[in-house]
């Protein structure tokens, strides 16, 4: 028998322990140096302190917190965000009780309502309503909080309605309901994913924040932008964060809460910049559901999808956030409205409010010229029906289409499978 021949790796070279310690020390010094340089150069503070946990609602902005958005990036205008004592965007709290004859609107939503970079649609709504209702005090409260689903919005409405006593509650949420998650919320893992932990750690550092924000968004977003692309990816068996049936139930409950407090609900179905995102997330299904629930419960339905659908432009690979800052008719990125779209959304809401007020008290003075101007000034998008082949059909969507569960035209969405 041959003698066994173990495969032997060469022994490690002699290495004094102090070299290991020196390496670890210099790595720590390197991290501190990068961090110090980033802070000395004035890069912005991190985002982790902006929100606080709220056991009832989920999370809200830190009361009385304020921060400068993109004060370091010359391409994006500076903007100071101020949070009131209730954890909502605003310079000050709404007064209680309300004034006589005052019109109050509570605007529920996510980051698209809160808006970091531009005036948000509630601010435009305030101006439009003041112009439309001369002599009447108007208070539009922005209650948008980034990341909110209808679950959060419903909980916030239950808290705010008794104190705020609104006439109208406008709701623009949906993106986070529709978002596809890898597992249902009931099946959360014991430990958070590493990516989430790394995200939290990176938010403690101005340097990594700078790389993420400046290098990543400036350099990579014009090349494609990963965060929003995640919305466009689908799985074979998608799980929405808030599935359609619960989404509908939340809307019904919100309508009931509004009714109990004498307010009228305005449901705004959301829109996306890219048609394939709308499709992958079943945007049409969510919009159809919102419209149906609004009709059932006497709410005002505002459907943004037809106004924003633009199948003739923007393929996945032309996506560019900052490149479109000044030129895009509607969006800052895939999901967030720019100023023009915010104003347009506000105008549609204002029109709905004006119509309802005119119905309820005929003869009252309502001037709708500013509203009409805002609606007409929004550039009419190209008519839908462009070359469908440019839209990238995800495998899941095609599969659903074959089964007849979903059809590409939003008007022909069957109600049964969606609800």
């Amino acid at each position: 028998m041959d003698s066994p021949r173990p495969l032997v790796h060469p022994p490690p070279p002699p290495w004094p322990r102090r070299r290991l310690w020196a390496f670890l020390l210099w790595t720590a010094i390197g991290l501190a140096a990068l961090e110090g340089l980033a802070r000395l150069a004035g890069f912005p503070p991190t985002e982790e302190a902006r929100t606080v946990t709220d056991w009832e609602v989920g999370w809200l902005y830190r009361p009385h917190f304020e921060w400068v958005m993109n004060g370091w990036n010359p391409r994006i205008p500076d903007r100071v965000m101020r949070i009131n004592s209730r954890g909502l965007r605003g310079e000050r709290d709404y007064p209680t009780p309300r004034e006589d004859g005052e019109i109050r609107v509570l605007c529920l939503g996510d980051s698209n309502t809160n808006q970091y970079h531009t005036d948000a649609w509630p601010e435009y709504l305030q101006r439009l309503l003041e112009a439309a209702l001369p002599g009447r005090p108007v208070w539009v409260q922005n209650a948008g909080v980034a990341g909110f689903t209808t679950d959060n919005a419903l909980a916030l409405a239950r808290r705010e309605l008794p104190a705020f006593e609104p006439d109208f509650v406008a709701l623009l949420v949906g993106v986070h309901d529709m978002m596809i998650v890898s597992r249902p919320a009931s099946d959360e893992p014991l430990l958070p994913p590493l990516g989430e932990v790394m995200g939290h750690v990176s938010q403690l550092s101005a340097f990594t924040h700078w790389i993420r924000a400046l290098a990543y968004q400036e350099a990579l977003h014009p090349l494609g932008g990963r965060p929003a692309d995640v919305y466009a990816i689908t799985t074979e068996d998608p799980v929405h964060r808030v599935p359609l049936d619960r989404h509908a139930q939340n809307l019904r409950e919100l309508a009931a809460v509004c009714r109990d407090h004498g307010a009228t609900l305005i449901v705004i179905s959301t829109a996306f910049r890219r048609p394939e995102v709308t499709r992958n997330l079943n945007g049409a299904g969510y919009a159809a559901t919102a419209n149906r629930v609004a009709a059932e419960s006497g709410a005002i339905a505002i459907d943004l999808l037809p106004h924003f659908e633009r199948p003739d432009r923007d393929s996945l690979f032309l996506y560019s956030t900052l490149g479109d800052w000044e030129t895009d008719p509607g969006f800052l990125d895939d999901v967030h409205f720019n100023g023009r779209a915010s104003e347009f959304t506000a105008a549609l809401v204002a029109q709905g409010i004006a119509d309802r007020l005119a119905d309820e008290s005929p003869g009252s003075e309502i001037r709708t010229d500013a509203i009409a101007r805002a609606i007409s000034s929004f550039a009419a998008p190209s008519p839908p029906g462009g070359d469908e082949s440019r839209v990238i059909p995800p495998a899941w969507f095609l599969q659903q289409q074959e089964r007849g569960a979903i059809s590409p035209g939003r008007d022909s969405v069957p109600s049964a499978p969606l609800m």
Partner: protein, 474 residues
């Protein structure tokens, strides 16, 4: 359990802490328990397969060693092969062959009933079955003496740093390290940390960042122009290299922290200038396994040109099939087999370019490198596409420079350039170091520390959602 998960870091921290205080034998028992926890975290039921494979090969190896009777030795070897390959065949290939056979029957007008099994593929089964087979094969060839200690052997089969995605370690290399007491040196800790950092950087900052773009492009390939498709192909070439070599680096680094040495699995394969060199640099543990246990036993290059080419092609086709139960992988392996055969023929007929003058040598090397990279990238289409038809369609769109209006932007090409710019400088420095030890080990501590700090920062900044490693499925 994924390397890029919080669970893994907790497990590693506990194991490292306990290994410092436990005696050698207890360390092995701890590592065995940790390995079973690591594997069982995914699905504990498949621990039974791992255990069955361990028991079978331990017994076969022991019996084989203690008999001089040739037929009995052969019988034990066949038992080991049948057990391991049978397990692989049932869990990985049964449905593939059943469906392929049914397709053939349907093609001749018959209507076969479905006989597929409703089973999932156990993670890493291809790796640990091959690894454990090296044990019985080497004992049969009298190149290895069996271990007496069953727990040592069980740890060899299940050693968690390389259990689910390699490197496929030879028993002759890993078992001796398990059987003798280990002392972790400062060098192993420092180089292990470097390997882990480099592996996580490749996996998280590059491969995971690239993945969404690749997925989208290959999903919707039929509607895209040649630029986004070519860009996606480059991106996938980067992704699969960073994903798989990243895993191997993390495995080597983790093993070093525990006092083990694993083989180098990747040597910057895209710097190869010919296809043979590529296979000396890509997934080295598999290519050397196939060479030693398949190609050479088939006759290697000792039985004439034609037989050599047949052996090469057989090896590469089976190597392709090892990657997955799909004809796409067979085509991928076949293409590599063809490349190897053509290269051999060209070399024999002296048709390969002669050595360039020294002043043009680097230019010639770059041209060869680029040429080979594109040939390899072409094979990745079949590796990643959803169907063979889809792969051919994508290839056609790229070759014919398909230009549908509106979706032929160069964005993916720019993305590929960006991610290559993260990868290339570090790979170039490693290549120039002419060693497989992490190149910053030779640098002064301040410089190495700054590089590590920069990589950690980039990792944190660019890291996203954890994605599983591509090679787990194989």
């Amino acid at each position: 359990m994924l390397f890029n998960s919080v669970e893994f870091f907790l497990l590693l921290a506990v194991v490292l802490a306990l290994c410092r205080v436990l005696p050698f034998r207890a360390q092995n028992a701890l590592l065995l328990v940790a390995s079973y926890v690591f594997y069982g975290w995914w699905d504990w039921r498949f621990l039974s397969l791992l255990f069955a494979s361990t028991v079978l090969d331990y017994l076969c190896g022991w019996k084989m060693h203690h008999t001089e009777h040739v037929h009995r030795r052969r019988l034990y070897l066949w038992c080991s092969m049948a057990g391991n390959l049978g397990m692989l065949g049932v869990f990985k290939y049964f449905n593939f062959f059943a469906e392929s056979f049914a397709e053939v029957l349907r093609a001749v007008g018959l209507q076969p009933s479905s006989v597929t099994l409703d089973i999932v593929l156990p993670v890493g089964i291809s790796f640990y079955t091959f690894q454990t087979m090296t044990y019985t094969l080497d004992i049969f060839r009298r190149r290895l003496a069996p271990t007496r200690n069953f727990l040592d052997f069980a740890l060899f089969v299940s050693f968690f740093p390389q259990l689910v995605a390699g490197p496929i370690e030879r028993a002759a290399a890993l078992l001796p390290q398990i059987e003798r007491p280990r002392r972790v040196t400062a060098y192993q800790i420092q180089s292990g940390l470097w390997l882990m950092l480099w592996g996580f950087f490749k996996k998280i900052a590059i491969a995971d960042s690239v993945a969404p773009f690749v997925d989208e492009a290959f999903h919707g390939a039929g509607n895209l122009g040649w630029r986004p498709l070519l860009g996606a192909l480059y991106l996938f070439s980067i992704q699969i290299y960073c994903d798989f070599s990243g895993y191997s680096d993390i495995a080597r680094g983790t093993a070093r922290l525990l006092g083990f040495e694993l083989m180098v699995n990747f040597r910057r394969p895209y710097f190869a200038t010919d296809i043979r060199e590529f296979w000396h640099r890509w997934h080295i543990s598999l290519s050397t396994f196939l060479r030693d246990y398949l190609y050479i036993p088939l006759g290697g290059n000792r039985r004439g040109r034609l037989r050599t080419d047949v052996n090469l092609m057989t090896t590469m086709l089976l190597g392709g099939l090892w990657h997955g139960a799909n004809w796409r992988f067979v085509v991928w392996g076949g293409l590599h087999g063809i490349y190897l055969a053509v290269e051999r023929v060209l070399a024999q007929w002296r048709l390969l370019p002669a050595a360039s003058p020294p002043s043009f040598r680097w230019l010639s090397a770059v041209l060869k490198l680029l040429c080979l990279f594109h040939l390899v990238a072409l094979t990745w289409i079949f590796f990643r596409a959803e169907t063979i038809g889809g792969a051919f369609a994508m290839l056609t769109q790229i070759v014919t420079l398909a230009d549908p209006e509106g979706i032929n932007s160069a964005t993916n090409l720019l993305r590929a350039a960006f991610y290559a710019s993260l990868l290339l400088p570090l790979d170039l420095l490693q290549e120039r170091a002419k060693t497989e030890e992490p190149f910053p080990m030779r640098w002064p501590a301040p410089l190495a520390g700054l590089l590590a700090a920069g990589m950690i920062s980039l990792l944190l900044a660019l890291g996203g959602e954890a994605q599983s490693f591509i090679y787990f499925q194989f």
